[in-house]
Symmetry: C2
Subunit: 83 residues, 2 copies
C-alpha cells in the first residue's frame, strides 16, 4: 500500500465516521432545525450514486464507505422529513 492509498483510506474512514455523531445527535435530540433538507436530499442521492459507481468498477472501499454513509444520511433525511 502506498502513502497515497493510506491517506485515501484514512480520508474515507473520516468522512464516513463523521455522519455517526450527526445521525446520533439528530436521533436523540430530534432537533433538525439547523439541518438543511436540500443538503441531505442532494447528499443522499450523491452517495447512492457513489455506491452505484463502486459497484460498477468493483471497488470494495467505495462500496463499503458509501453503504454506511447512505444509511446514516438517510436516517438524518428521514428525521428531517418527519419533524
Amino acid at each position: 500500500m502506498t502513502t497515497a492509498d493510506l491517506v485515501g483510506y484514512l480520508s474515507a474512514f473520516l468522512t464516513t465516521l463523521a455522519f455517526v455523531p450527526q445521525a446520533l445527535h439528530s436521533w436523540k435530540t430530534r432537533d433538525l432545525s439547523g439541518v438543511s433538507l436540500p443538503m441531505y436530499s442532494l447528499f443522499s442521492l450523491g452517495v447512492a450514486g457513489w455506491l452505484v459507481y463502486g459497484l460498477m468498477i468493483g471497488s470494495w472501499p467505495i462500496i463499503l464507505a458509501n453503504s454506511i454513509t447512505l444509511i446514516l444520511a438517510c436516517v438524518v433525511l428521514y428525521l428531517k422529513l418527519k419533524h
Copy 2:
C-alpha cells in the same frame, strides 16, 4: 468516458453541491442547533485528507470537488463554533 466515469462525476457533483444549501442555510439563519460539531470536525478533516490524496495522485476531479466541499464545510464548522 465510460458510463461508470459519468456516474462518478455526477455523484461527485451532487455530494459537493449538497453543502451549498447547508452553508447558505447556516449563514442566513445562524441556526446551528441541530448541526453536530463532531460531524463537521471529522468531516472537514476527512475532506482535507481527500484533498491531500487528490494532490498526491494528481486527480483534478478529486482536488476540485474536495476544495469546494472543504470551504463549505469549514463555513458551517466556523458558524457552529461561533454560535
